[in-house]
Subunit: 215 residues, 3 copies
C-alpha cells in the first residue's frame, strides 16, 4: 500500500523553480498570440516576420528549460520531486515545439490563406496556454490545489474542442478539397495545431500527477 | 541503489479503485465490440447509430476516470502508488479515445464499405481490450502477477499483429488505390485503429511498471 | 519538499543490467548502420536482404529487452529505481521499432530511389544512436554524469537537425512532387526516420530524469 505524503507538498518559499515555470507559461501564451496574429493576416511578408518571432520565443523557451535543468543540478532541495520538475519542464517545452511547428509549416508550405479552422484552433491555443500558465502559476501554493484542478479541467475541455474542430475540418477537406496535395498540406498544419493542444493536455496530466502524488 | 519495496504491494481489500478499473476495462471491451459491429455492416444508418453508442460509452469511460480521480482526492491510503493509479486511469482513457476516434472518423469521412484490414484491426482490438480488462482485473491480487505478465505479453503480441496488418494495408493502398484522397482517408481510419492497439500496449507498459516497482 | 537522494546512485558493481543496456545500445547503432547502407543502394535485391537483417536485429533487441525484464524479476537490488530500468529498456526498444519501421516501409512501399533527405536522416540516426549507446554505457559510473549530460545535449541537437531536414523535405515534396501518392509514400518513410530520432530524444529524457532523481 502507499500513503499519501503529507510532508511532501511544495516548499512555499522556493525562489528558483516557480519563477522559471511562470516564465515558461507566459512564453507559451505569447507564442500562441503571435500564431493567432499570423493566421489572421493574408500578408505573407508579415507572416514571415511573425514566424521569425515565434522561432525566437521558442529559443527563449529552450533557455528557460535549460535554466530549470541547471537549477536542478545546483539545488539539493526542490519544491516537489526532482523527476516531476523535469517532466513538467519537458511537457511545457513540447507545447512550444508544436506551436513553433505549426508556424514553421505555414511558412514552409507557403500557405497564403489560413482557413477558418486554423483561426479557431489558434484561438483555442491561446485559451489552452492561458490555463496552462495559470495552473503553473498557482502551483506554488498548496491552497491553490482546487484552482489548479479547475485549470486542468479547462485545458482538457479546450483540447476536446480542438479535437472536434480538427476532425470536422479534415472531414470537410475530404468532402470538398479535390486537390490531394493541398488537402495533405492543410491537414498537416491543422494537425500541428491540434497536437499543440494535446501537449497542453500532457502538461495538465503532469500537473494532476504531481497533485495526486503530493495530496 | 534501490531496493524493491516488499511492503508496498496491493492492499487486498481495496473496494474503491479496483471496481472502477474493472468497469473501465469492461467498457473498453464493449467499445471494441460495437466498433467491430460497425465495420461489419454496410448499412450506413446502423453505422451512425453504432457511432452514437460508442460516443456514449466513451463518455461513460470519462465518468469512470473522473471517479478514480475523485477517489484519489478522498483516500489517503491507496492500493498502489497514487501517481500509478493516475497513469493507469489515463492510459485506459487513451484507449477509449482512439476507439472513439476510429468510429468518429468512419462516420465523418462517410466510409461506406469498411475494408478487410479494418475488420481485422477491429477484431484485434476486441482481443487487445479483453487482455487489458483481464490484466486490470487480476491487479487486485498479488498472486496474479504471472497472469498479469501473461496478459501483457499477449497485448504486445496483438499490437505487433495490428502493426503488421496496418503496414501491409497501407502498402496495398499505395499499390492499388489510384485516388489519393480515398487513400489518405482509409489510411487515417486504419491509423486510429492501429493507434488504439498502441494505447493498449501503453496500458501494458504502465502495468509492467507497476509490477516491477512493487515486485 | 523533496530531498535529492544521495544514497541512491548507481551500484557500481552491477553485472546484470549494465551489460544488457550496453548490448541494446550497440544493437541500435548496428540497426542504424544497416539502414544507412540500405538508403545508399539502388539495388532493390540488396535492400530486401538488408531489411531482413534489420528485422533480425530488431528481434535481437526484443530479446535483450526481455532479458532486462527477467533480471528485474530475479533481482531485489537494482542499480537504480526498478521503474526507471523498465522505462529505459522500453525507450531503447522504441528506437529499434522505428528504425525497423522505416526499413520495413521502404521495402513494403517499393521505394526504388531513396532521396537525399532519407540519406541525411539515416546518417543522423547513426549519430543519434552512437550518442545513445555512449550515454547508456557511461551510466554505470556516477563520475560520468557530465558525459551522460553531454551525450543527451548532443542527442537533442541531432533530433533538431533531423526535424529540420524532415520539415524541409516535406515542404519540397509539396512544392515539386505532383504525384500525391508518391508524396505521401515518401513523407511516411521520412516520418518514421524522423520519429526514430524523436525516440532517441525520449531515451535522453529518461536518462536525464534518472540523473536528476539520483543527483
Amino acid at each position: 500500500m502507499a500513503l499519501g505524503n503529507i510532508f511532501n507538498f511544495f516548499v512555499p518559499k522556493d525562489k528558483k523553480f516557480f519563477p522559471l515555470f511562470e516564465q515558461a507559461g507566459s512564453n507559451l501564451i505569447e507564442m500562441a498570440k503571435v500564431l493567432n496574429e499570423s493566421v489572421n493576416t493574408t500578408d505573407s511578408q508579415l507572416r514571415k516576420t511573425l514566424a521569425k518571432k515565434i522561432e525566437d520565443l521558442e529559443h527563449r523557451g529552450d533557455d528557460i528549460t535549460h535554466q530549470i535543468h541547471l537549477e536542478l543540478g545546483k539545488n539539493f532541495i526542490t519544491p516537489f520531486d526532482r523527476e516531476d520538475i523535469h517532466s513538467l519542464a519537458s511537457s511545457l517545452d513540447d507545447v512550444a515545439d508544436y506551436i513553433h511547428g505549426a508556424s514553421n509549416r505555414m511558412d514552409l508550405y507557403k500557405v497564403e490563406n489560413p482557413t477558418q479552422a486554423m483561426k479557431e484552433l489558434a484561438e483555442l491555443l491561446i485559451e489552452a496556454t492561458e490555463h496552462v500558465a495559470k495552473a503553473v502559476y498557482e502551483l506554488k501554493d498548496i491552497k491553490n490545489v482546487r484552482n489548479i484542478t479547475d485549470s486542468c479541467v479547462r485545458i482538457n475541455s479546450v483540447e476536446n474542442k480542438a479535437d472536434y474542430i480538427f476532425e470536422k475540418a479534415v472531414a470537410e477537406l475530404f468532402e470538398f478539397e479535390k486537390d490531394a496535395i493541398i488537402l495533405i498540406k492543410h491537414k498537416e498544419i491543422l494537425s500541428s495545431m491540434e497536437t499543440a493542444t494535446d501537449k497542453c493536455e500532457d502538461v495538465s496530466n503532469v500537473l494532476e500527477s504531481i497533485l495526486v502524488k503530493n495530496a
